[in-house]
């Protein structure tokens, strides 16, 4: 099977002498479900950011979806991001837009027409049980509901890769189960690669997964 992410001697840092990830070499297979764990400040979110180009490799090489992330051009990065769905801990919804339009964002960017994107958005809002909230604004929803909207948005354009940073960090049990079900469904039914950064791996997952743990800047696969 092809690898969707390949890292060779990858080092990441924000400042020159403060290495967060040091000379990591690993690969993630397409269609796999991966957890990245580690203590607070261990660099798991930084590693995830490097996958969508928010931080550039300081040393070594990183390939995401066949695209080299070192010194990537803006147009290439935009192209890559149009094939990635991202779920953030702080949701990152556009406050001035309705829930429906927020979910539609990746479809608007990919140039889908109103009818196609409208139908897709309705389907996804149904999956996250928020059809009745479509016309509301993010600030009118609870944290759990906002994260479900963010989840629907991440799936809207059928991405090849979903990156989730603590997607259920502060959520109630119901919202957490909706999010995990959707991530599992995307992985098993659509064969989407899912990478989740989290403190704790949820219990009762019905799918096989890989587990990487970050400690002192090094990444180790946990059997």
């Amino acid at each position: 099977m092809d690898n969707v992410i390949i890292a060779e001697n990858l080092s990441l840092s924000y400042k020159e002498f403060e290495t967060i990830i040091s000379k990591a070499t690993f690969s993630i297979e397409a269609g796999s479900f991966v957890f990245i764990t580690g203590a607070s400040g261990s660099g798991k979110s930084t590693l995830l950011k490097s996958f969508y180009g928010a931080i550039e490799p300081r040393q070594g090489q990183l390939m995401v979806g066949g695209v080299k992330m070192n010194h990537i051009s803006t147009s290439k990065l935009n192209f890559l991001r149009r094939h990635i769905g991202i779920v953030f801990q702080d949701y990152k919804l556009i406050k001035e837009w309705t829930i429906e339009k927020n979910v539609m964002l990746p479809l608007i960017i990919s140039g889908y027409t109103g009818d196609v994107s409208g139908a897709q958005v309705q389907k996804l809002l149904g999956h996250v049980k928020l059809t009745h909230q479509a016309g509301k604004y993010p600030q009118e929803l609870s944290g759990g509901e906002q994260q479900r909207v963010a989840m629907a948005r991440a799936l809207a354009h059928n991405p090849i890769l979903i990156l989730a940073d603590e997607p259920t960090g502060n959520l109630d049990d119901y919202s957490s189960s909706v999010i995990w079900n959707l991530l599992e469904g995307a992985n098993t039914q659509l064969k989407t690669t899912v990478i989740v950064v989290t403190h704790h791996i949820p219990e009762g997952l019905r799918i096989p997964y890989k587990h990487y743990h970050i400690e002192f800047g090094t990444i180790n696969e946990i059997a």
Partner: protein, 270 residues
């Protein structure tokens, strides 16, 4: 409500720019009309020993628009009872010719002096009166007025520039979050900033419409134009075609430039 506030802040800034430009244009137009008014009233008196036709005068200096002979009949009429007809005929023959020269623009003091010298160099011309002292006073007053208006416009431009800079910072702050989120999903720059450009264009159009309405009302109620008419100046303070088009171009230029600056200086958060 929030959206209205966002619109209003830019509309007010743009309206201030447009109003200051329009006031400057209206004052400039008034000064030009006043200059034309002064030009019509101003003339140079020339005394010659022989008849000179209008074409000859025009050939002497390009500033000379037309010439009018001043009739001596009135003077001679007054002397009729005191002098014999023979002496009167003799006087008529020896009396110099008087001309009033009108110019095609209101001259500067230097131009008057040059014109005077040029005319005096002609052997047929005996004397030239340019009324330079009266002219100088009027001209200096007009220059002072022009300078005051220019300083006033520069001051307004400086204040509005600061207002726009402040507005730009506000816009950057307001839209940075949305632009960042769109960037995370791969939106190209033009799509991320489309909302900003749309907002800028709509606000530019609204600011222009408000300006047109304000100046239309000033013209319609006519208080200012009446005041100007009373001192002999007839001027249109707001020309619907020229001024509206110019204002729209300025408003669009300023707001689009503002948006470009925001987009160019925007840094994606990590």
């Amino acid at each position: 409500m929030k959206s209205l506030k966002n619109h209003l802040s830019l509309i007010i800034a743009l309206f201030t720019v447009l109003a200051s430009v329009q006031i400057y244009v209206a004052v400039d137009r008034t000064i030009a009309a006043y200059e034309s008014h002064l030009k019509n009233d101003y003339s140079v008196i020339v005394v010659t020993s022989e008849l000179i036709n209008p074409g000859e005068f025009k050939a002497m200096n390009s500033m000379i628009d037309r010439s009018e002979p001043i009739s001596t009949a009135q003077v001679l009429e007054r002397l009729k009872g005191e002098m014999s007809q023979k002496n009167l005929d003799l006087l008529k023959l020896t009396l110099p010719k008087f001309y009033r020269l009108y110019l095609n623009r209101f001259p500067t003091p230097r131009e008057i002096s040059q014109l005077q010298k040029k005319l005096e160099s002609n052997s047929a011309i005996e004397r030239v009166e340019g009324f330079s002292q009266t002219h100088d006073t009027v001209y200096k007053l007009m220059l002072l007025f022009k300078d005051v208006v220019q300083i006033f416009s520069i001051a307004i431009a400086a204040v509005t520039s600061l207002l726009i800079l402040k507005e730009m910072r506000l816009w950057q702050f307001q839209h940075a979050e949305r632009m960042n989120i769109m960037a995370l999903f791969g939106a190209p720059v033009w799509l991320r900033s489309a909302v900003l450009f749309r907002l800028a264009i709509v606000d530019a159009i609204i600011a222009t419409l408000i300006l047109c309405l304000a100046f239309f009302l000033i013209d319609y109620y006519g208080y200012l134009t009446m005041q100007l008419k009373e001192i002999g100046i007839s001027v249109q303070l707001f020309n619907f075609v020229d001024d509206a088009v110019r204002s729209l171009i300025i408003a669009l230029g300023v707001s689009v430039a503002l948006t470009f600056t925001i987009v160019l200086f925007h840094r994606e958060e990590e």
